[in-house]
């Protein structure tokens, strides 16, 4: 049934809730299937991620959006096998081209990291090594894999730097990160991410630390790379406007679960179904259109230890490729009234 060529194992119950596209023959590029992650706090287990199900196909740009504590970065870290020690996957699967990355104790994950899946982080100043020349940082992983010498690696670094829009790359290839501007550093990080020709690129708030004009250049670069490489993107951010600019599909998270997702970002943004998505979109200030009083929420999400521990109901399909979580009457009340209910106590 599932997975023609590539999937060699794991035939037990693939693609539960997200199985609507699985009949396409080829396994999806990335498939996160009912992923649950627990946090161990003071000897007790708390659900940090609850039944996360989403997929990214080749050439797809999916935005994963949420506010602090929603679990968006955690989802990305889990998918990358980079969970901190106090957190662990309790159930579910993460499949890359049909292959379960959580199997054989992380070996499968290590095999695709870099070559199959690459990651671009928020803070290039932190993620880059301050005492290593940028050219070497870009090609370190490729050289190690292909046994390249210094000359060959340097040539490739120049080529990649050119590809990510660094002008006069020969001049900068020997520079250290501190000599570059924030935008250039982010381009260097993107160059190192694409060095091994990944099929899937994870982005964790890659433009949040940048000025608007630089952000817009980086988003254009992502669009160009997406067209050139035909890679899939999973783009995590808190900024809905940024996602709307770059992505074609969208998943919205709140308090450790997905509340709404659609393959058609535009349709969902224009007519959101879940009360949280509506509240979130109502809080976004706009550059165009009528100026209205914004909607607000008292706080973004309850802390882990104050969340309901009841199992959540699966997402329901409102139209093909568009799923929404059921909302309890209390949640509807909370999100519809937003700050007003909270202000009323004052």
């Amino acid at each position: 049934m599932n997975g023609a060529g590539m999937a060699t194992r794991k035939t037990d119950g693939p693609a539960g809730a997200g199985g609507e596209r699985a009949s396409a023959g080829q396994a999806p590029l990335l498939e996160i299937d009912r992923l649950c992650v627990s946090a161990h706090i003071n000897g007790q287990d708390w659900r940090a991620l609850e039944n996360i199900t989403l997929r990214v196909d080749r050439g797809e740009t999916r935005g994963l959006v949420g506010e602090s504590g929603s679990g968006k970065s955690l989802t990305l870290r889990a998918a990358m096998g980079l969970l901190p020690g106090s957190l662990s996957v309790t159930s579910g699967a993460i499949r890359f081209k049909g292959r379960d990355l959580l199997a054989d104790g992380g070996k499968a994950m290590a095999a695709v990291r870099g070559t199959g899946i690459a990651m671009v982080f928020q803070e290039p100043a932190v993620a880059l090594n301050p005492v290593m020349r940028v050219g070497r940082q870009i090609t370190d992983s490729v050289s190690a894999r292909r046994g390249w010498g210094r000359r060959q690696a340097r040539e490739f670094a120049v080529e990649l730097m050119d590809q990510v829009g660094i002008r006069d790359p020969k001049r900068w290839v020997e520079a250290y990160p501190h000599q570059l501007s924030g935008g250039m550093r982010q381009r260097v990080m993107i160059a190192s991410a694409i060095a091994c020709g990944p099929e899937l690129i994870f982005c964790d708030e890659p433009t949040t630390a940048l000025d608007v004009t630089v952000q817009s250049q980086i988003l254009k670069l992502f669009s160009k790379l997406q067209a050139d490489l035909h890679a899939g993107f999973l783009y995590v951010t808190h900024d809905l406007s940024v996602v709307a600019e770059f992505c074609s599909s969208l998943s919205v998270m709140y308090a450790g679960r997905i509340v709404e997702q659609s393959d058609d970002l535009k349709a969902m943004v224009q007519a959101p179904v879940h009360p949280y998505t509506r509240a979130l979109l109502g809080a976004v200030p706009r550059i165009k259109g009528p100026i209205q009083r914004l909607r607000g929420l008292s706080s973004s999400a309850p802390p882990l230890t104050e969340r309901s521990q009841a199992p959540t109901a699966p997402l329901a399909e409102v139209s093909p490729g568009w799923q929404v979580a059921p909302a309890s009457p209390e949640e509807v009340e909370l999100f519809e009234t937003g700050v007003q209910a909270w202000e009323a106590q004052a």
């Binding site: 506010e67 602090s68 000025d211 608007v212 004009t213 952000q215 817009s216 988003l219 808190h238 900024d239 809905l240 406007s241 940024v242 709307a244 600019e245 970002l265 535009k266 943004v269 224009q270 509240a279 979130l280 979109l281 109502g282 809080a283 976004v284 200030p285 706009r286 550059i287 165009k288 100026i291 209205q292 009083r293 914004l294 909607r295 607000g296 929420l297 008292s298 706080s299 973004s300 937003g338 700050v339 909270w342 202000e343 106590q345 004052a346």
Partner: protein, 262 residues
């Protein structure tokens, strides 16, 4: 003398403000502000937008009195603000910072923080009066007064920023300088703070200089907008005019770069 001028609305007028920071090299130094003029009328919310290094925060610091090394003239309610200000002048212009985690003492209850300021400024003759004033401040920032006896450590980012605003309001300012006051907050929480600023203007006639890199936020709150680039204000007009028909190239460039929802 000064206190009489501080009642009722006062207009801030900054004229030809320049600030130069010394650099290690023996050159003329770095010119952060190059002859900037800007006004904030009573009850007006003025946005100051620019990218990093544009000088927007430096102008805010000059206006509040934190950056005393500048040339040019500052007037508030007709009085010239000297480099050393009187207590009444300092009270009249207050500031809210970006990071509510860094600007509040995590060890102190909200009540202690507010009471300390009220005592220093001689507001409220006894504890009861100060307590009543503090409760009023909490209501003003839409916080339950019961939170007066809690510490910021247990609060959300939005609640902390409300406490920071209550603190700035405690001495009865007429002008608030908000420097990236919503930038560290989640979108939905940011919306609440923007609404709070709009309400404060409506309720107590507060004037606000709202400094931000975020064009959409500025558009949703401000009456007038000044665009600053490399230490100079390149465009200043009513908000609608700036967004609908920008005249300066740099403004157009900024607007074209700003992402928006479909």
């Amino acid at each position: 003398m000064g206190s009489a001028g501080m009642t009722g609305g006062s207009e801030l007028v900054a004229e030809d403000i320049s600030v130069t920071f010394a650099t290690r090299r023996r050159d003329a130094g770095h010119r952060a502000l190059a002859g900037v003029s800007l006004g904030v009328r009573p009850g007006e919310i003025v946005g100051l937008v620019g990218e990093s290094g544009s000088g927007k925060s430096t102008l805010g610091r000059v206006i509040v009195g934190l950056q005393q090394d500048y040339t040019g003239t500052l007037r508030f309610g007709g009085e010239v603000l000297a480099h050393r200000r009187t207590r009444a002048q300092r009270r009249a212009i207050q500031m809210v910072f970006q990071d509510p985690y860094a600007s509040l003492d995590p060890q102190m209850t909200v009540w202690k923080m507010l009471e300390e300021l009220l005592i220093v400024h001689g507001i409220g003759e006894n504890r009861e009066a100060r307590r009543a004033r503090s409760e009023e401040l909490m209501r003003l920032v839409h916080m339950p007064p019961t939170l007066l006896d809690t510490r910021p450590a247990g609060m959300s980012g939005g609640q902390r920023q409300r406490v920071a605003i209550a603190r700035a309001l405690s001495v009865g300012p007429q002008l608030l300088v908000a420097d990236e006051a919503t930038s560290a907050l989640d979108v939905s929480v940011q919306a609440g703070i923007i609404n709070l600023f709009a309400d404060l203007r409506a309720e107590i006639g507060l004037s606000i200089l709202f400094i931000s890199h975020n064009l959409a936020v500025v558009r949703s709150l401000c009456d007038r907008v000044a665009v600053i680039c490399q230490g100079e204000i390149v465009e200043e007009a009513e908000t609608r005019a700036v967004f609908d028909a920008p005249r300066h190239d740099y403004t157009r460039q900024l607007l074209a770069a700003a992402p928006d929802l479909p």
